[in-house]
Amino acid sequence: MSQATMEIRRISGHAGSVPGAGMSRDYDVCKLIDTTTCIGCKACEVACLEWNGYGFAQTSFDNSYQTMPETAWNYWNLIKFNEYQHPDHGLMLLMRKDQCMHCEDPGCLEACPADSAIIQYANGIVDFQEDHCIGCGYCITGCPFNIPKFSTEARKVFKCTLCSDRVSQGLEPACIKSCPTGCLHFGSKEDMSYLAQKRAKQLRDVSGFGNAGVYDPAGVGGTHVIYVLHDATNPEIYGGLPKNPSIPWSVKLWKHPLKWLGNLAMVGGLFGLAIHYLRFGPKVVEGADKFPENEGPRP
């Protein structure tokens, strides 16, 4: 992002056009994960831990190569291993690197009540600002991908930052740098989409995966992490990748109609009471005048 803003616009005393003018790519960044060339080496898991300063977590064994059942507050990048019986290709071991998808329309941000705790950069990265996080966990409910994780020690929520610290310095995310097969790519959304579509076409035309395609779900406005899948019609087989993810209906209902109805009702109620007071005023009990026999000490 900072690199793009430092592009040269005008040059003094310079003959001809500005070098590089009009060559800039979009601000939008994107991570492309080609699940078809992932070998499950977990170098990205290690690079993520190293760059972000987390220690190795306790692993669990569940008849799979998978490190743990799901990502954790201090383990943001997890390859999900799933066996799948493909009708044409036999038994396949599907490997999908799971992490924050950096939605264009992020449910976590929609649900968050804390000022400045979740921000979306112009380049598409959705970043948690733990300084401002109050630990309410609404982001956990807003996320359709089961990504934000609560730390009971810090009492705050954490997730993948898409290495916003590295990207701001013109570097690729740590996972990208570590990938030995080139199944991870990083660049502008336009370029990555192009590359992904090209690879999917190759899989369809040459490799016999007729359902191969790109996972860039429209329900969340597209994502800044996209997958190439052997079978894009059935993303659930890749460790529960949702087919049509969207912000949960109740979060939308809560943040839009209920919020405005509630605000209207509360403000209207205050006005209503004020009007009632002006119109009718307090109930007057004339006391001794009305019931003189009832006042005074007991006889």
Binding site: T141, N146, W249, M266, G269, Y277, K283, V285
Partner: protein, 220 residues
């Protein structure tokens, strides 16, 4: 019903016992805290409420605990008052005449027992919303323990909690308005516990008759 007469030595009537007042104010203080911190998380325009109350992180930590204390108070209220709050035919008749009550024409409404139908509505509204707030609040309190497969519980909770809270805010606004601005003597009845005979006769005629009857029976 009661061991002691509710007619006080100075001739005034005891409307709320010490225990009732203690429970009421426990509920009141915790409710106001819950409402203010809840509103802070409801709208960014009200987030400052949490800052005034010690910071949003502290508000988020204490809101559920205050909710538990509030729950205990509501349970005690239920134990104390549920019988007297049961809806009768008289209450339905009163509700049909409620516009006279709103327009301060109380003489046109049927005489009421210790609690009128409006107070009963407040009570049952808070009991029902209290249950909804407790159940949804437990889910919202510890979202990290709700597994992904049960995420619909969180989806239900995020809508039920604010919806039930809004209903209680409406009830609370009316309750506060009635107690502080409309019925002179009502606030004192909840602080000192006693009301004048005129007050009792005006607003709770059936209760007044019962208290006086019990008193004269006890004094015989």
């Amino acid at each position: 019903m009661r061991d002691e007469s509710q007619v006080l030595p100075n001739g005034r009537l005891l409307r709320y016992s010490y225990r009732e007042r203690l429970v009421h104010w426990t509920a009141s203080i915790t409710y106001v805290y819950l409402m203010l911190t809840g509103l802070a998380f409801w709208s960014p325009w009200l987030y400052w409420l949490a800052i005034v109350l010690g910071g949003a992180t502290i508000s988020r930590e204490l809101h559920p605990w205050a909710g538990l204390i509030f729950t205990v108070a509501v349970v005690l209220m239920y134990v104390m008052w549920a019988f007297e709050m049961s809806i009768t035919e008289n209450d339905k008749a009163w509700m049909r005449q409620v516009e006279h009550y709103i327009q301060n024409e109380d003489e046109k409404t049927p005489p009421q027992d210790r609690f009128n139908a409006g107070q009963k509505s407040l009570f049952w509204g808070f009991v029902i919303c209290g249950i909804l707030l407790l159940l949804s609040g437990l889910v919202l309190w510890l979202p990290q323990y709700i597994p992904w497969s049960l995420r619909y519980l969180r989806y239900i909770a995020v809508i039920v909690h604010p919806a039930a809270a809004l209903i209680t805010i409406g009830l609370f606004m009316i309750h506060l308005y009635m107690g502080l601005a409309i019925e002179g003597g009502a606030l004192h009845s909840m602080v000192g516990g006693d009301v004048s005979r005129s007050w009792a006769k005006e607003f709770h005629r059936l209760w007044y008759d019962k208290v006086v009857r019990d008193d004269s029976a006890a004094r015989k």
